[in-house]
Amino acid sequence: MRQSYLKNVVTLNLDSEKCIGCGRCLEVCPHNVFVLGSGKAELRDRDACMECGACARNCPEEAVTVRAGVGCAYAIAIGLLRGTEPSCGE
């Protein structure tokens, strides 16, 4: 059973102009967000993205961008208290 989270919130973007269709994003995505269509990557299910950032980090052309981070309430609260990015606490 695929579990879905909030809709239309993720910051994932794909610039088709830059994409060379190497398929790395398909390889690293844990939620099968991308498909390869006509030699370029396409977004199949944007809402399934959990913003782990694997695709952006491994895109050699920087065609994929996402504000990556931990989707963790505790980390976000710590970040808010300290005025920093979300952090697990150490």
């Binding site: 059973m1 909030l6 844990p30 099968n32 913003e51 491994n58 505790y74």
Partner: protein, 334 residues
């Protein structure tokens, strides 16, 4: 044999490994459960044997080696400060920098003839494969998400099936994470117990200690129920609870639990009790369920931020009003 120069790894877990894993699940010594970084040999690896890369969190390493029985290969353990692959990748310690440095430090290029590294797919958020290739000459192949699929992945010529690539979050995956959630609420639960004991003292007047303790325990039952609803039942029943936000799902289960408690104790007539419990109990479940976002495999940062912006103020208001009712009730009792 090239393998003999490096520490040999058993593919069997002993009692100490299993006990250590159990303790870490409850949060005991979890942050120092690590092994030394470096190159390890599984079976009798030769210069052409595959190289797997892993984190130095001992539970991750144990999960990995357990699945490798009968195989001859290398494991390059990189220093992630004792943190698992996914979390370490998220903060960049399972990353390009550490990997490239560790390859050089163990002299991997002189030990093996191949120029391919198999990384866990969940390490990808921290590692830029093209940068590793450019800086070390090693080509990165992302293997399966779960260690148990590695033998099949190797047999298939280092090809992962779609199911090997997908992160799951089934009943067992959720259940195994709940001890950490419960352990995290131990201190606040003790605090609630303390407050309830003081309240029993104020209300009950002079009575033997065991009577007071008994009453305290009885008044803790609804709170214990709220904790279990948020930190245990919500994670376990997650896909079956209506809605999307975890704070909402927890609140809903907490509300159901509160209603059940009021029904079972026939206390719907006591308006103050009803109000108090409705304000305090579901919100405890809601807060705990919201914390489970850190353990799920599908909640995004943007999503959790949005959820918290709405849920947190509501939780604070509800808890604040509940506390106010509590103080007023106590005041009336004096």
């Amino acid at each position: 044999m090239a393998g003999l120069r490096f520490p040999q790894v058993s593919t069997r877990l002993n009692r100490t490994d299993i006990l250590g894993s159990f303790k870490a699940r409850w949060g005991a010594a979890r942050m120092s459960y690590s092994i030394a970084p470096g190159l390890y040999a599984v079976g009798r690896p030769a210069a052409a044997s595959p190289v797997l890369v892993s984190a130095n969190y001992k539970m991750s390493f144990d999960r990995l080696r357990k699945t490798l029985s009968g195989l001859d290969l290398w494991i390059l353990v990189i220093d992630t400060k004792g943190i698992n692959v996914w979390c370490a990748a998220g903060r960049g310690t399972f990353g390009t920098e550490e990997l490239v440095g560790r390859i050089a430090q163990v002299g991997l290029g002189d030990v093996v003839t191949g120029r391919t590294l198999i990384l866990p797919q969940l390490g990808a958020p921290g590692v830029a494969a093209h940068d590793v290739l450019r800086r070390s000459g090693f080509n990165v192949v992302y293997g399966p998400v779960r260690a148990v699929d590695i033998p099949e992945f190797l047999r298939a010529g280092q090809k992962a099936t779609p199911s090997m690539r997908a992160v799951r979050f089934n009943l067992w995956d959720r259940l195994i994470l709940t001890p950490m959630e419960l352990a995290g609420f131990l201190k606040p639960a003790l605090l609630i117990l303390g407050i309830l004991f003081v309240m029993t003292l104020i209300r009950g007047g002079p009575a033997p200690v065991w009577v007071l303790l008994g009453r305290t325990a009885a008044s803790f039952i609804p709170f214990l129920g709220a904790i279990l609803a948020g930190a245990f039942l919500t994670p376990v029943l997650l896909p079956f609870i209506p809605g999307r936000a975890l704070a909402w799902k927890g609140w809903l289960l907490g509300l159901a639990g509160t209603a059940l408690y009021l029904q079972l104790t026939a206390s719907w007539q006591e308006r103050k009790t009803v109000l108090l419990y409705l304000l305090l109990l579901p919100v405890i479940s809601s807060f705990l369920a919201m914390n489970f976002t850190g353990a799920t495999t599908f909640t995004s940062l943007s999503g959790v931020v949005k959820e918290m912006k709405i849920a947190l103020p509501l939780q604070i208001v509800s808890a604040g009003l509940g506390t106010l009712v509590l103080i007023l009730t106590l005041g009336a009792a004096l």
